[in-house]
Symmetry: C2
Subunit: 385 residues, 2 copies
């Protein structure tokens, strides 16, 4: 069996879970945060950097890779692992989120979606079968069913869309030919408890090896997102991993692990790094800020990453202001280290029975400095460019 | 004596020399190629990368550092080495080349130059004394006199300009207060043998610890550049290093080492890398070329750099086409490795008495694939931006 999940510990105070996914390219300790490598590279980091950071899992975007360099090419190179020089686990999304974000460039029907490339306007069609075939060519360890990601707050549309997403999930299962990839189902249903419950029950009946939770990083409030997770926790199969797609600010990790989530991915730490923002235990810092101009401190003195061990805030600010590639690299390195290290501590705290205390401590400090996103989800999937 | 130069070997067939510069931040084997770190970073590489590549010397640009982050700030951090986290030798230019390239934004008089910043239009003034003070704040191991870099082909202007450059050289010497920095004089004189000879003789009389050769990467032909070096070789002090400023394509290294040059710097390997061009023993390759789309080969199979050990041309082409930062990084890494490794081999061949043979072999291969620059210098200093 190339893929399995061991649930190793369940927290007694919250719904937090610690486990391990076993995949063809190695084990993935859970809960896990996966950096996003849209185009066969986690932006501004090399595979050597990712190994150095002990990254357990990265994500590739099927839509983007299908267009560039093309799934045929990746297959010719023996799959994405070989193509990009990364021999640890990879997950690909189904392209659904990206295709549906192509407003005005796509048409949905019950069989699939016809869309135009955001690069050259060329016409393409994704169906459940096609998306599975592409993901089999790309060859990730974990692949996702083709789903529709509808507006979160339109009940009538969600009702119709959910039926289609469920039929597509069945077609994806039927289309799968490779036995060495784990195909996850994706729960949809917007912010509507009955639809979410319906989706979870239906997909659970199909016995997927894991479950994505989609449509929860698209503008709904954090309260809505958390409410949906609370509804899903008892309905999703206990011994299967749950993957909250496109979500993963530091505060999200704590709140959603507490609600039973095992997997996360988010462009946030890499994207904000390229805008000059660093993650710290006191919140996000904009390193362009003049107050850092003469600071001899690293981003965080206790941080063990290469950036914090070697560079001052003054130097990082200089690089950001001058738009130097090294600035993008060093802050990305720190932010990914921050996310992975925070997740490692969360996991250990679950084993130690101290997760709730660690969560309270982290969030009290993190909120003191004030993340600006109150109420609205600060996490986001990666729309087209 | 914090700075000295040992001439260790002179070639019998050419004017090539092998030696070692001893500086406060370590020894610099010569001949040496210095990557350019304009704004306190060699673009797309970290100090860890530069150590890994065994880079003996890097260059910082005084004009750029004076404007961003400012010499005062760098001084506050104990100098550029500490500010950027690089504890090996650094050389700063005098800012002359950059200031004089600010056509329409600068006015020259006999005392100095008044110019406007290319960033915010603010007004500044460089004099020989000011430029030495700035370079003392930046704290490089090797610093340069403030010189005028005139159009290479205007004899009358070069005649006037040369007198001024010589008076400025004397003023720079008089202005120097630190004893732990080597201040190099700079030979000017355009493409005019009599002016070059005059300049070399005058500057030699001032007994600088080293000599820059300026104004030879500004559009003159390669034949002119080489002719000037042939004139200068017997006139420059034998036991002082000679630094050909802003020059350093692969072919230049061979042709100019053969004419007695000990030091080079050039933005070429880093700049072309960011445009997707890789240096190879067969010439420069544009990695965007469709012929690389399905290539499983590295840039060069025999190359020991991280890029060639781990990545195919197909993957690099994909990164370049997608404008991914990792592409800039990996190709820069390869190009700098190529330059440093080529220079290490040149130096060894001088010791072995095989330099002329190595030069002939390298240039026969390198020219087979056809560098497009015939006649005109393919090397260039770094103008503003």
């Amino acid at each position: 069996m190339p893929f399995s999940f061991d649930l190793l510990k369940e927290d007694t105070e919250t719904n937090a879970r610690a486990g391990a996914i076993h995949s063809p390219h190695g084990d993935i300790p859970t809960p896990v945060f996966a950096p996003v490598g849209t185009l066969a590279t986690v932006k501004a980091l090399s595979p050597a950097d990712l190994y150095q950071l002990d990254t357990p899992l990265i994500l590739g975007n099927t839509y983007h890779l299908y267009l560039r360099p093309g799934a045929d090419l990746i297959a010719e190179f023996g799959g994405l692992h070989n193509f990009m020089g990364w021999q640890r686990p990879i997950l690909t999304d189904s392209g659904g989120f990206q295709v549906f974000s192509l407003k005005g460039l796509r048409e949905i029907d019950d069989d699939g979606v016809t869309f135009r490339s955001h690069i050259d306007g060329s016409k393409h069609r994704f169906t459940p079968e096609k998306v599975i075939a592409i993901q089999e060519q790309i060859g990730a360890d974990i692949i996702m069913v083709f789903d529709e990601c509808p507006p979160h707050d339109d009940y009538d549309y969600n009702l119709i869309s959910l039926e289609r997403t469920h039929r597509w999930a069945e077609r994806c299962l039927a289309a799968q030919t490779r036995s060495d990839q784990a195909l996850y189902g994706i729960v949809q249903g917007g912010v509507f408890p009955d639809l979410r419950a319906k989706s979870a029950k239906f997909l659970a009946s199909l016995d997927f090896p894991g479950y994505g939770i989609g449509g929860l990083s698209v503008g709904e409030t954090k309260a809505d997102m958390r409410a949906m997770l609370d509804i899903l926790h008892p309905l999703l199969p206990r011994f299967k991993p749950r993957y909250l797609m496109g979500v993963g600010s530091p505060e999200d990790l704590f709140e959603c692990v507490a609600r039973g989530v095992d997997q996360f991915d988010c462009v946030l730490p890499t994207r904000i790094a390229r805008n000059g923002a660093a993650l710290t235990h006191y919140g996000r810092w904009n390193l362009r800020n003049a107050k850092f101009a003469r600071s001899r401190q690293p981003i965080e003195a206790a941080c063990t990453c290469y950036t914090c061990q070697n560079f001052t805030l003054a130097y990082l600010r200089h690089l950001v202001k001058a738009n130097e590639i090294l600035g993008h690299h060093l802050i990305t390195l720190h932010n990914i280290h921050f996310m992975l290290e925070t997740m490692r501590r969360i996991r250990q705290s679950i084993f130690d029975g101290t997760f709730a205390a660690y969560k309270a401590e982290f969030l009290s400090k993190y909120q003191v400095a004030g993340s600006k996103q109150q109420g609205v989800s600060s996490s986001f999937q990666s729309p087209i460019i």
